[in-house]
């Protein structure tokens, strides 16, 4: 059966679908039960799966993460929601010091098959602390996987994969595009691979790499540039950890030019790691310096100025033009 869903509804569809298949999946978080989540990602799941599988927790992120670690070692597959990524920091000790290390430090005697979902990123005129993109902090931690969908279909397929993964997965949902695009998807239980990029548009002149909400502007820029006869290859990185360097390198070797686009601050953003990897492995195949289109190294401005912070389509077009002009 096909469903026309937005990214947010695709998250809901994947959760319900996998919970029907796998009794060991339980959800926990703030306001996820009766209220169905502040964005409604877990809407109606309490009614279908009951109190024991859709748990409203007290308001304490450290506790949510700590419980998730504990449950995951005992045969359950908890999927925790952190209401906004700006509130994930109290949970980090449990994610970094325990979830990410449990398998290694017990030589696989125990492991933490768990998912932590959190909406992230700017552009919805939200209160302070509700708009940051801090995905690099988590991508830097060995033992985690960090996945970011950029369409309803990828949200569905990647969240299924996250729930089936034997290791902890951080699933970051770009809330700016939660409801912006509808897509027909079939609730067929087919997952998409974690650790693989998705090539959204093929092109021979330049490679554009992005993830999450910025995929929207990246695709817009590619479409506009096509009008000028410039053929962009657009790749959705999707899994920012582990990174699919093979797909990235193959594309860069083909086009010789690379622009990396992300909303997160420039300094030590994932763009830096990708640029370093390309420099190490494909320097002589580059025809121009790698360009980055990113947020600034500032505190995310409060919403009146957030559009000045967020990269836009013109920024990407400008970066592509400059990269192509380099000789």
């Amino acid at each position: 059966m096909k469903h026309s869903v937005c990214l947010l509804e695709a998250v809901n569809l994947a959760l319900a679908s996998e919970m029907r298949r796998d009794d060991s999946i339980v959800l926990l978080g703030e306001d996820i039960g009766v209220n169905g989540g502040v964005f409604r990602a877990t809407a109606s799941l309490r009614e279908e799966f009951g109190l024991k599988r859709v748990m409203d927790t007290p308001l304490a992120e450290t506790m949510i993460a700590g419980l998730t670690v504990g449950m995951s070692t005992q045969g359950l597959k908890p999927v925790a929601e952190i209401q906004f990524m700006g509130f994930i920091f109290p949970a980090l000790e449990h994610i970094i010091c325990h979830a990410a290390r449990m398998r290694n430090r017990t030589r696989s005697r125990l492991s933490c098959p768990m998912v932590i979902r959190a909406p992230f990123g700017g552009g919805i005129h939200a209160p302070e602390h509700h708009s940051e993109s801090t995905e690099t902090l988590l991508a830097h931690i060995p033992g985690l996987k960090v996945v970011i969908p950029s369409s309803p279909a990828r949200a569905y397929g990647l969240l299924l994969a996250a729930m089936r993964d034997p290791d902890p997965v951080i699933f970051l949902e770009p809330k700016r595009i939660y409801r912006s695009v509808q897509q027909e998807i079939e609730d067929n239980g087919v997952e998409l691979p974690i650790g693989k990029c998705f090539t959204l548009r093929e092109g021979s002149d330049i490679t554009l790499l992005s993830w999450g909400a910025m995929i929207t502007e990246t695709l817009e820029a590619a479409a506009a540039l096509k009008e000028q006869g410039i053929h962009c290859e657009v790749i959705d990185v999707a899994s920012i950890s582990p990174l699919d360097t093979e797909t990235i390198l193959t594309s860069v070797r083909k086009t010789g030019r690379l622009v990396i686009i992300h909303e997160a601050p420039r300094n030590l953003g994932l763009g830096a790691e990708i640029a370093a990897t390309v420099a190490e492995k494909a320097l002589l195949e580059l025809q121009a310096p790698i360009a980055r289109v990113t947020g600034y190294d500032t505190v995310m401005p409060y919403f009146r100025l957030e559009n000045h912070y967020l990269p836009n389509t013109q920024d990407i077009i400008d970066a592509v033009t400059q990269t192509l002009e380099f000789s």
């Binding site: 304490a60 419980l67 504990g70 449950m71 005992q74 290694n104 430090r105 005697r109 034997p166």
Partner: protein, 360 residues
């Protein structure tokens, strides 16, 4: 719901201070308890000796906690889950952790967390108080799966100052989780004494805000510890929810082998604490009951000494893990970039490589 003050059955000499429970008429449990307390202490002595001679890493001594860990471990069922902090080796050993593996852990080797005998018990929590929340997660799993099991978790007096501990008591209360929290209040968090941790009259009083029962127990008195633990476990098995036990003891050792308590602790206080220590107290009771004498003591010490020495010898003979082992358990399946880095590490460890070590 209020906290109860200081449950005690035996005074410092092992003389009853009130009528003993019925089960205390039989010697078997006491003999077993004594055996493990002596074993724990000899393990501890050996571990410190190994550390002082460069054969073990920084080690957290258990000295003074035997009267807590041993009765607790003996009260637990094998399918209960232990979520320890880093001073529960006595409890872990009774639950099946081979002595060799206990040495191995403090000797810097992850295999010390891997023993199959540990079942689903957690490895040591080194960050403070995080284990309290993991225990609640484990207990939530038990509850969801309708298992008649309990989770037991320990924490030091210093750890009770952390938010994780309070968040754990809170959720355990709200969800009626089958979990037993045991505070080893040994009066010192490295150099910081109990009165600087909290203005609470008793740490067990922290249960009040969470709406759960809290009880303060003489942690040098194995009868009191068994009584309190059994009651708490029964409550958990019967679906009545969590209990907080504050076991009052004294850290008879330095914080770890990297610490020197003479810098901050009065020697008279330590001397007075030795007067209250748990092994002497239990032995006093057993002698008074006619269950124990010099000869039995000598035989036990000899037997345990042999066991501990053999385990230490076995530990020392164990070769380090292969270098690639620190890659192989990062994920269920090794990602591409780690396959590449693993190869580098293996090559560098080979003869002629930059990280090659003689004997590997």
């Amino acid at each position: 719901m209020n906290t109860q003050n200081h449950l005690q059955f035996l005074d410092c000499e092992g003389v009853p201070t009130q009528a003993l429970p019925k089960w205390a008429e039989e010697p078997d449990w006491f003999l077993k308890c004594y055996h493990f307390m002596v074993l724990a202490r000899q393990f501890d002595t050996k571990a410190i000796a190994l550390q002082r001679t460069g054969q073990l890493g920084t080690y957290a001594s258990l000295l003074g906690s035997e009267g807590i860990d041993v009765p607790v471990a003996l009260s637990m069922q094998s399918d209960d889950v232990l979520v320890p902090y880093y001073r529960n080796h006595a409890c872990q050993i009774i639950r099946g952790l081979p002595l060799e593996d206990a040495f191995l852990y403090w000797g810097g080797d992850e295999r010390g967390n891997a023993a199959i005998e540990m079942g689903k018990d957690f490895p040591n929590a080194v960050p403070i108080a995080t284990q309290s929340l993991h225990a609640c997660g484990v207990a939530t799993a038990m509850k969801i799966n309708n298992l008649k099991q309990a989770t037991v978790t320990f924490i030091g007096d210093g750890g009770t100052s952390k938010g994780d501990f309070m968040e754990a008591l809170n959720i355990a209360g709200v969800w009626h989780l089958p979990v037993v929290f045991i505070i080893n209040n040994n009066q010192w968090a490295i150099s910081v004494p109990r009165e600087i941790q909290s203005a609470a009259n008793a740490l067990a009083d922290k249960a009040i805000a969470a709406g759960i029962p809290g009880i303060q127990v003489d942690g040098n008195d194995v009868i009191a510890m068994r009584e309190a633990t059994n009651q708490a476990l029964q409550r958990a098995y019967e679906g009545k929810g969590p209990t907080l036990i504050e076991a009052v003891s004294y850290r008879l050792c330095d914080h770890t082998t990297a610490d020197d308590a003479t810098r901050y602790r009065d020697n008279d206080e330590l001397k007075a604490a030795w007067h209250r220590e748990p092994i002497k107290r239990l032995r006093g009771h057993m002698v008074n009951q006619g269950w124990w004498d010099e000869e039995k003591e000598k035989a036990l010490l000899h037997e345990i000494n042999k066991t501990v020495q053999k385990s230490a010898d076995n530990y020392i003979k164990m070769a380090p893990q292969a270098v690639e082992s620190f890659f192989d358990h990062m994920y269920a399946e090794l990602p591409e970039h780690l396959v590449e880095q693993r190869d580098w590490a293996v090559v560098k460890a080979m003869p002629g490589g930059s990280h090659h070590q003689e004997g590997e």
